[in-house]
């Protein structure tokens, strides 16, 4: 482990820029920390921290010089690797004759600074979806191959975070080029830095570093430990597929539907949700037609439309589909869970529906049924 002093942080950004990367990092935009171009360390939200709860997100300025003392905002890597809108093709001509033109794939070289462990896991999950099958998605794979990832281990956990219980954080353990732990103590401000790939190791060679002292390594470990211990929520994943597939007709779905607005915010903010639709647009002369792939959400009625009407008409069916897919069906489909515990769906739900709470209710319902099956005959004799 080596140490990068805070005053040398700009060198890291300059070296990334020198390697022809556009550097993307956390920036404050419209009251939230999102991802945008970073020219220097001065652009990072120093001293800012966030407070998150179901349906609530606020930022506060503190006296701390910390650059990364907050958790994830509404933006994620997803929109950079899997754009919310991408052109599939242009078709020139008409019904009598046409030519299909495939657009050039835009895959800019980008370095992401300050990527959290849950984000890296979410990306690895999308790798399975978009690049793991028989038909790898060319846009995703091209963009994915052109990125450099500088992770930051979380120094605090949000109230809606539950990565520790999902095994996806708060420490970055895989999928990064470089990983940082920010330490601010006794007037010193430095980053413990480590490489996860060959590209990361080459970058280390270019930076003004010194070996970390044992006390510094311990201070870094304490930062991560503190985040893990202050996690606001947790998810019990034990046997979670059965919890959902044995509860497809639970009364919970109707109960959640009375609160759910089917607004699709959770699916837009989720870093793993991948559904898309295709929009057809043609010129007014009808001599050129475009096909655009755009993000879609299973919360819209049209999502499941077949001739005769939507399959999932009720909002209870749509919520059941989303959470069952995310926490249970995903495993059979892609060999991983579909949730990384980032808590975005809780924070950005306008009515604060909580994925961890709904999963816990289902688990209790199932346990109660199992209890009844086991002891039922004896307990009902009172009637």
């Amino acid at each position: 482990m080596q140490v990068l002093m805070r005053e040398d942080f700009d060198t890291l950004i300059e070296k990334l820029q020198g390697a022809d990367y556009e550097v993307i990092g956390p920036r404050i935009r419209e009251g939230a920390i999102v991802l945008d171009t970073v020219d220097s360390a001065g652009d990072l939200p120093a001293g800012w921290t966030d407070e998150q709860e179901g349906g609530r997100y606020t930022l506060h300025k503190t006296d701390s010089p910390s650059l990364f003392h907050y958790t994830v905002g509404p933006a994620s890597l997803k929109s950079f690797l899997y754009p919310s809108k991408s052109l599939l093709c242009r078709v020139y001509g008409g019904h009598n004759d046409f030519d299909v033109e495939e657009p050039e794939i835009e895959a800019p070289r980008r370095a992401f600074v300050g990527v959290r462990a849950c984000e890296l896991h979410a990306m690895a999950i999308q790798d399975h979806v978009f690049a793991g099958g028989r038909h790898p998605d060319p846009v995703y794979t091209a963009r994915r191959n052109n990125i450099f990832l500088v992770a930051v281990n979380c120094s605090k956990a949000g109230n809606t975070c539950f990565c520790a219980s999902m095994g996806t954080g708060p420490e970055a353990t895989a999928h990064y080029d470089l990983a940082l732990t920010e330490v601010v103590e006794d007037g010193t401000h430095y980053f413990l830095i480590d490489a996860g790939t060959k590209a990361g190791r080459s970058m280390l060679d270019e930076l003004p570093l010194r070996p970390a002292r044992a006390a510094e390594e311990e201070a870094g470990a304490a930062v991560v430990r503190n985040a893990a211990e202050s996690m606001g929520r947790s998810m019990d994943t034990e046997g979670i597929e059965d919890v959902f597939f044995e509860n497809l007709e639970s009364p919970l779905w109707q109960e959640v539907a009375e609160r759910c607005l089917t607004c699709a915010n959770c699916t837009m903010a989720c870093p793993t949700c991948f559904c898309s639709t295709v929009e057809d647009i043609s010129t007014i002369d009808n001599d050129m037609a475009e096909r655009w792939r755009v993000w879609d959400s299973c919360f819209t009625t049209n999502f499941s439309y077949v001739f005769g009407g939507a399959i999932r008409k009720a909002s209870s069916s749509r919520y059941r589909h989303w959470i069952t897919h995310k926490l249970a069906a995903w495993q059979e489909q892609f060999g991983t869970p579909g949730c990384v515990g980032c808590g975005r769906c809780i924070t950005w739900c306008p009515v604060g529906i909580d994925i961890t709470e709904e999963a816990a209710v289902l688990r209790r319902q199932r346990e109660a049924r199992q209890g009844e099956a086991r002891y039922g005959a004896g307990t009902r004799t009172a009637y």
Binding site: V100, V129, G133
Partner: protein, 281 residues
């Protein structure tokens, strides 16, 4: 014309060679790769589908309805009910559409070897089964009794009428037709297709069933098959869901943990039995 796209979702131009109206709202479209030979669909298995693209309108997933032994005559049969299928219906021979495929899991033929076969279908559901029927007839000696049970709403809605009449004249298979309602000149059976199951000549202990139709029809068909003692693992169904990509990543066609586009559309009943009982799954 050898086209190599990077993007797996791009349509390959195909020309409409013939349009045949099967009923008032159902037609068969015969397609040939534009630019003649090469490119396009060179082979497919019974039960698979293509994504058909109409210029400026969009795509729809439609099963092949022709013979897999003759993939050069690429047939798709569909009802004109949605924006894409209505636009397809308005095309004329010589005009162009795009296709990509073939996609999906096919009806298992080898598993029928040495067994009686019962095909149960209603309405447009016969279209994705026709390639299977062609294959079974071509390899007739491999199988036991073959029975086709077909239901339509009215006699006018009987699909592939001439062909069904030919199949009925064969001595090596049984074809039973029923309609939900008819005028007095109909001399055949009346009632839903499930009423044909108890009297059909198949041995449930050594049979295989292929089922395709509206979901509610399949639900009651499966119930009737079970009542006759047909084991669930030898019943196959073809499911329909909204599809945008056909490749397993647009998410639209999910049926529980299954992607109908790549894990189906043909499923062994045991794979989806627990899901078919759930409303709006």
């Amino acid at each position: 014309m050898a086209v190599a796209y990077h993007e797996p979702m791009l349509p390959l131009p195909h020309r409409v060679r013939r349009m045949t109206w099967e009923t008032d709202d159902t037609f068969t479209m015969e397609l040939v790769a534009a630019g003649g030979g090469g490119g396009g669909i060179t082979s497919f298995a019974p039960g698979q589908f293509n994504m058909l693209y109409v210029f400026g309108v969009g795509e729809a997933a439609i099963s092949m309805s022709g013979s897999p032994s003759n993939p050069d005559t690429l047939l798709h049969t569909t009802r004109a009910v949605g924006s894409v299928t209505k636009a397809l219906a308005n095309l004329h021979p010589g005009q162009l559409i795009g296709i990509r495929g073939p996609y999906g899991v096919s009806w298992p033929v080898d598993e029928a070897e040495g067994r009686d076969i019962v095909i149960i279908t209603g309405g447009i559901g016969l279209a994705p089964l026709r390639p299977l029927i062609y294959t079974l007839i071509e390899q007739r000696e491999r199988f036991g009794n073959i029975t086709i049970l077909f239901g339509a709403r009215t006699p006018d809605e009987i699909l592939f009428r001439d062909e069904i009449e030919q199949w009925r004249r064969r001595f090596d298979m049984d074809v039973l037709i029923t309609v939900d309602r008819a005028s007095r000149d109909w001399r055949g059976r009346l009632g839903v297709v499930t009423t044909l199951i108890p009297q059909s000549p198949f041995d449930p202990k050594n049979s295989i069933a292929y089922v395709c139709g509206p979901e509610v029809m399949m639900y009651f068909t499966l119930e009737a098959l079970e009542k006759r003692g047909m084991p669930r693992e030898r019943v196959f169904v073809s499911m329909e869901r909204n599809m945008k990509c056909g490749l397993g990543f647009c998410g639209h066609c999910q049926l529980g943990p299954k992607f109908v586009c790549k894990d189906g559309p043909v499923f062994r009943w045991t794979e989806v039995a627990s899901l078919l009982d759930i409303r709006e799954i």
